[in-house]
Symmetry: C2
Subunit: 353 residues, 2 copies
């Protein structure tokens, strides 16, 4: 079932309509303590459905996207008398939409759910496309399901409360979508002033970006082919993210993605002659907004180990999504350890690390 | 995706073919300690794939179909280096196929799995149709997913090791399918000597029975309509089962189903004029093979409470699947507490309880 996406800054109205078409016997809002204090009051002021709904509040952060939190959500659904015709509204960032979506997808073998992402990253990535799940034994998204939300309501209104680095984190995924689309979109995104844009300026750009993902996901919901395009930047990104976590100074997902995009474009340049000027413009944008990963060549073996562990690998090779130019994707490419090492050297040089 | 069902007493060959078409990077066998000692050696003697596969052995019994066991299975998959192209073989009764199937359906958001039911009940019911899951907070199948096995290999060979009451337990579900099919099949089943049949005599009858379920499930995989037909007998059955559990003398699922079928035919007779002779023949068969539930009228309030809690209820009413005659189904019927109480009185009378 293709997913219904609603782009609007009138969230209460959209939610009312989406719930109306589900017509649930009862409604539950899954959110976290941060969103509960910052965003939920805004929504409740306008939306009577959310006042009547039962709240399930989880602890924030990726570290709490785990089996213990999931189990508590199931418990709260049981305690609240949820039945097969109840509906869930996931209000929050990617942790809430991933975990809340998985809870709904598996409670009584699946009840309807609606995602309302409250971060740019969740809006452009997690909340759309049906990937739900939790981390397990420190492995990211190791347990989960492909299950589309019945509706995703995407608004830029709630991003006002986001810290700058949260906004930038989401913007990295928008740039990824721009790279998958073509040179015009890519250039427009590098020129857009994300840190000073109004909600209404951002909404149409976000809509265009989300639709890139939606088109890919509708064609390949379970990631057997085309959907792998969305992994652009993500093989190195996951390694940067995991290494930073291991070293005790976690970095936002989107920052790791920004660095990972530069690595993948370097590899794309080396292997597929991706144009050097576009690579340099991206690197300059990333250096300005995201800085550089704090790595030295001593970290290369750990990064290679982490890339080998990536879920996308099905044999001994490390797999990458690469581009011959913006908009021209080549899936399932592999790179040697020597090529990856060379790319990391160039990354540090380009980002002045 | 409709599910591939293979009816054969050459299990090793069928498994080899099914695994061949998946071509997994590694294979895991999920089973329980009973099946590991009674059945796995038989299979391993013939099937090299099962010798090479990594074993994951769970504790037997419905009481272990829980989050703790599920979490251990996920852990064992991680420890065994399972990746997205690994495959799982669930070898066992309904607990193993339900829980192992759910583990596979959610590990890395879903890896392929093959069910080999080793009990008649699992062959005729649990292993086919894509319902996977676990119990949660003492609620049966409260958490799970609809996810088809890539193949189900159905053999009657392994049933030799089953205790009589296990065999009868599965046969109750076959009778249910017979009632959904029509008078001829229903009568043939009541005349068949299940306790003395050879594996080769049982296999074609089992195939016919499983195909009844498969046809219904293929038309309505997520139980929004027709699939509810398969709930015949199950509203009272779940109540008998839960009450017996609460009272500390658990009964096999199929025994509860046999008694539940009689209750639903009594209600069918009262409300839809289901023929009284067919009802009496079923009751005689059930009394002879399954005895009667140990209930008195003091248990009626508890039974009604349990029926009210049933997952199938979406409002305050207790829902039943009823028949106007064998083969003629009416879904989503409701009965009043007075009607249910009267039916329980008649049940005890018919079964000489």
């Amino acid at each position: 079932m293709p997913q219904q996406l609603i782009f609007t800054n009138d969230v209460a109205d959209a939610l009312s309509e989406a719930l109306g078409s589900i017509s649930p016997s009862s409604t539950f809002i899954i959110t976290d303590t941060n969103v509960e204090s910052l965003v939920l009051p805004l929504l409740r002021a306008e939306s009577p459905e959310t006042v009547r709904a039962r709240k399930i509040v989880t602890r924030p952060g990726d570290v709490n996207k785990n089996l213990d939190s999931l189990s508590r959500i199931w418990s709260d659904l049981v305690a609240g008398g949820a039945n097969r015709r109840s509906a869930v509204v996931c209000l929050g960032g990617g942790v809430v939409t991933d975990m809340g979506g998985f809870a709904a997808a598996t409670f009584k073998r699946g009840i309807p759910f609606i995602n309302i992402p409250t971060t740019l990253l969740a809006a452009v990535d997690a909340a759309v496309g049906g990937k739900t799940g939790i981390n397990f034994e420190d492995l990211k998204n190791e347990v989960g399901a492909f299950c589309n939300a019945d509706a995703v309501i995407i608004s830029t209104r709630f991003f006002r409360t986001l810290p700058t680095r949260e906004l930038l984190s989401g913007y990295a995924e928008m740039i990824k979508h721009g790279l998958l689309t073509g040179p015009d979109t890519f250039n427009r995104l590098l020129a857009f002033d994300i840190l000073n844009a109004t909600p209404d300026e951002l909404l149409p750009l976000l809509e265009q970006s989300v639709m890139v993902k939606k088109q890919i996901v509708d064609e390949d919901p379970t990631e057997h082919g085309l959907r792998k395009a969305l992994n652009l930047g993500h093989t190195p990104a996951h390694a940067f993210e995991s290494l930073a976590l291991e070293q005790g100074h976690p970095v936002p997902h989107g920052f790791a993605v920004a660095w990972g995009l530069v690595v993948d474009l370097i590899l794309s340049h080396m292997m597929l002659k991706f144009p050097s000027d576009a690579l340099h413009r991206l690197a300059a944008f990333v250096a300005e907004h995201y800085g550089a990963p704090s790595i030295t060549c001593d970290d290369y073996p750990a990064l290679l180990r982490l890339m080998h562990h990536d879920k996308k690998n099905t044999d001994g090779n490390i797999r990458f999504t690469l581009l011959s130019e913006p908009g021209a994707v080549k899936l399932d490419d592999t790179a040697t350890e020597e090529q990856i090492t060379a790319a990391l050297d160039i990354l540090r040089d380009l980002l002045h690390a």
